[in-house]
C-alpha cells in the first residue's frame, strides 16, 4: 500500500482543471502541424490559383498580369476545353466502371477466398505501385505495340481488323487509366470485404438465397462503403490524369489534363490554365458530393 500513497499525493482538487483543459487542448495540438501544412500548402495554393484564375487574360509573362477579376476566364477556359473536359469525365467513368468490374472480383477473391495466400496476393496488388508509373506505362506501350504479340493475337482471332491497333486509341487510354489506378480501388474495397462477416453469407444461403442472390443482397450492400471510397480514389485522379492520354492516346483522346498542362507550360496562359483547373476541381467536387449523397455513405474519410 505504501506504493500507492506516493501516487495519490497529488492534491485531488488541482487534478481536475488540469485534466479538463489538457483534454480539450490535446486534439488541437495533435492536429495543428498537419492541418497547418495542408492549409499553407494546399489551401494557400488554391487561393493563389483562384487569384490567378481571375487575372487579366491579356497579360503575359513579359508584361505581367493585372488582377482584373476576369470571371470570363472561366467561361473561355471551359468553352475552349469543352471536348477534353467531357472526354476526361467520360474516360474516367468508363475506366472506373471497368475498374469495378475487374477490381471487385479481385478484392473479393483476396478477402474471402485466398485463405493463407491472402497477404501474398495483397502484396501483388500493392507492389506494382513501387515500380514507377511511367515505367509501367511505357511497358504498356511495348505490350500494346502494333507489331506486338497481343495485337497480333487479336488480329488473328478477328477481334481487331487486319489493320486494327490498340496503341494510340481510346481503348489504350482507358486501359492505361484502369491499370494505373486499380490498386486505389482494390485496397479500400478489400478492407471492407475483409470485415464482412462470413456468417451472414451462410445465413443468406440458409435462407434460400443462391450465391448470386447472396452477393446482390448481402455482400454488395455491405461492401458499399469500401466501394464508394475505392471508386472515388480511382475516379478523381483518373479525371485529372494526362500522362496516359499523352503516352497511349492520340490527339483526339487528349484529356483536360493535357490542356491544363499546355496552358501552363506551352502557351504560358496562366489565367486560363488556373481557371480550367478550378473549374475541373469544382466539377469533381460536385460529382463527388452527388455521388456520396446518392450512395448514402457520408463517412468515407
Amino acid at each position: 500500500m505504501t506504493l500507492m500513497t506516493g501516487i495519490g499525493a497529488a492534491p485531488a482538487g488541482s487534478a481536475r482543471p488540469a485534466r479538463k483543459s489538457g483534454r480539450r487542448w490535446l486534439p488541437y495540438l495533435l492536429l495543428l502541424p498537419g492541418t497547418l501544412w495542408l492549409v499553407v500548402f494546399f489551401f494557400g495554393p488554391m487561393l493563389t490559383l483562384g487569384a490567378a484564375s481571375l487575372w487579366d487574360p491579356a497579360g503575359s509573362l513579359q508584361t505581367g498580369y493585372a488582377q482584373t477579376l476576369s470571371f470570363g476566364n472561366y467561361v473561355d477556359a471551359v468553352r475552349d476545353a469543352g471536348p477534353q473536359l467531357l472526354r476526361s469525365f467520360w474516360y474516367a467513368a468508363i475506366a472506373t466502371l471497368i475498374g469495378v468490374i475487374i477490381g471487385y472480383p479481385l478484392a473479393y477473391a483476396i478477402a474471402l477466398k485466398a485463405g493463407r495466400w491472402k497477404y501474398l496476393l495483397l502484396v501483388a496488388v500493392v507492389a506494382p505501385m513501387f515500380t514507377s508509373f511511367l515505367v509501367r506505362t511505357l511497358a504498356w506501350k511495348t505490350i500494346l505495340s502494333d507489331n506486338g504479340a497481343l495485337v497480333g493475337l487479336l488480329r488473328d482471332i478477328g477481334i481487331l481488323g487486319a489493320d486494327g491497333r490498340l496503341l494510340a486509341t481510346p481503348i489504350a487510354v482507358v486501359l492505361g487509366l484502369t491499370y494505373n489506378f486499380l490498386p486505389f480501388l482494390v485496397l479500400p474495397l478489400y478492407a471492407s470485404l475483409e470485415r464482412l462477416d462470413r456468417r451472414l453469407l451462410e445465413a443468406a444461403g440458409d435462407l434460400y438465397a443462391s450465391p448470386a442472390r447472396s452477393f446482390v443482397k448481402i455482400t454488395l450492400p455491405l461492401s458499399m462503403p469500401g466501394l464508394v471510397a475505392g471508386t472515388l480514389l480511382f475516379f478523381i485522379p483518373a479525371v485529372g490524369d494526362y500522362i496516359n492520354a499523352e503516352l497511349l492516346g492520340n490527339p483526339n483522346t487528349y484529356m483536360v489534363g493535357n490542356v491544363i498542362d499546355s496552358a501552363f507550360l506551352v502557351r504560358l496562359d496562366y489565367p486560363h490554365g488556373a481557371a480550367l483547373s478550378f473549374a475541373l476541381m469544382f466539377l469533381i467536387l460536385i460529382i463527388v458530393m452527388v455521388y456520396l449523397f446518392r450512395s448514402g455513405t457520408d463517412e468515407v474519410v
Binding site: R23, R24, L26, P27, L30, G34, T35, W37, L38, F42, P45, T48, L49, A52, P105, L106, Y108, A109, K113, A114, Y119, L122, V123, A124, V125, V126, A127, P128, F130, T131, S132, F133, L134, V135, R136, L138, A139, K141, T142, I143, Y179, L182, P183, P211, L233, I236, P237, G240, D241, Y242, G257, I260, F264, A274, S277, F278, L280, M281, I284, V301
Partner: protein
C-alpha cells in the same frame, strides 16, 4: 461425382477471375523485368534482343540515372517520415477525441484526395511563382508531404477505429499515464496501420510525376528522368530500377506482414 466438378468450379471461379486481374496488374512488371535483362540492338529499340546481366551490374551507367533514383529515395523517405508523423497525429486526434472542429478537419483532409494531382501541382506552382520561391528539392518535398498526409490520416484512422478502446482504459487502470498508454499500448497496436500508411506514402511519393514535374525546378527525380529518357530512348537500366523497386516492395511488405502475423492477430 459430376456435382463435385460443378461445385469445384462454383467455389473457385471468383479466384480465377481474381488471378486473371492480378496477371493484368503484373503484366507490365513482367515486361519490365524481362527488359531489365535485355541488351537492346540499339538505344531506340525496346524489343528483346539478347540476354545480358550488364544492366544489373552497371545500373549507374546512364549518366544521371542513379542521382535521380537517389534523390527520389531521399525525397520519398523524408516525405514518408513527415507525412506519417503529421498524419498519424491527426488520425489520433480524429479517432480518439471528440471536439468541435472535427467535421471541418475531416473536410480539410478529404479535399486534397478529391483534387486532381494536376490541379494541386499547378496551384502549388502558382504559389511558388507568386512567392518567388526557388523550386527544387524542398519544394518537391513540401508537395509530397502535402498529398501524402491525407492518405496517412485515412489509413491510420481506419486502424484506430478498429481498435478496442477498452485496451487503453485497461492500460490507464494499470497505472499507465496518458503518455505511457500511448507509448505502450496505442502506438504498438496502431503500428501495422502506420506502417501501411508509410509504405503507401513512400510509393505515392516515389511514383509521383505530375505534381513533381511542376514544382521541381532544376531537380530531377526518377520519374522525371524516365519521362526525359523516353524522349531519346529509355536506357534498359531504368527497367532494372523498376524491377528492383518492385522486388524491394514485395520483400518489405511481406516482411512487415509476416511480423504482423507473428505479432498480434489483432486486426
Amino acid at each position: 461425382m459430376n456435382y463435385r466438378i460443378g461445385r469445384w468450379i462454383a467455389d473457385r471461379w471468383v479466384m480465377g477471375v481474381g488471378l486473371l486481374v492480378l496477371a493484368y496488374l503484373a503484366l507490365p512488371i513482367i515486361v519490365v523485368a524481362g527488359l531489365s535483362f535485355n541488351r537492346p540492338s540499339n538505344r531506340l529499340s525496346y524489343d528483346f534482343n539478347e540476354f545480358t546481366l550488364d544492366n544489373w551490374t552497371n545500373v549507374c551507367g546512364p549518366a544521371g540515372l542513379c542521382d535521380a533514383v537517389l534523390r527520389s529515395v531521399q525525397i520519398g523517405f523524408l516525405a514518408t517520415v513527415f507525412a506519417t508523423v503529421l498524419g498519424t497525429l491527426m488520425a489520433f486526434a480524429l479517432a480518439r477525441h471528440k471536439f468541435f472542429a472535427r467535421p471541418a478537419v475531416n473536410v480539410i483532409i478529404f479535399l486534397p484526395m478529391a483534387t486532381p494531382e494536376l490541379v494541386m501541382g499547378t496551384s502549388l506552382l502558382a504559389l511558388f511563382v507568386t512567392g518567388s520561391v526557388a523550386l527544387g528539392f524542398w519544394t518537391i518535398l513540401i508537395a509530397h508531404v502535402m498529398f501524402c498526409i491525407s492518405f496517412v490520416v485515412v489509413t491510420v484512422k481506419a486502424r484506430l477505429a478498429g481498435m478496442d478502446a477498452r485496451l487503453e482504459e485497461a492500460a490507464m487502470d494499470l497505472y499507465a499515464t496518458p503518455f505511457q498508454t500511448f507509448r505502450r499500448v496505442t502506438l504498438p497496436l496502431a503500428l501495422p496501420g502506420i506502417v501501411a500508411a508509410a509504405l503507401l506514402s513512400f510509393s505515392l511519393s516515389f511514383d509521383d510525376f505530375i505534381i513533381t514535374n511542376f514544382n521541381s525546378g532544376t531537380t530531377v527525380t526518377f520519374p522525371m528522368y524516365v519521362w526525359g529518357a523516353n524522349q531519346r530512348g529509355v536506357p534498359p537500366q531504368v527497367n532494372v530500377i523498376g524491377t528492383a523497386m518492385f522486388a524491394i516492395a514485395l520483400l518489405l511488405v511481406l516482411a512487415t506482414n509476416v511480423r504482423r502475423r507473428r505479432g498480434a492477430r489483432v486486426a
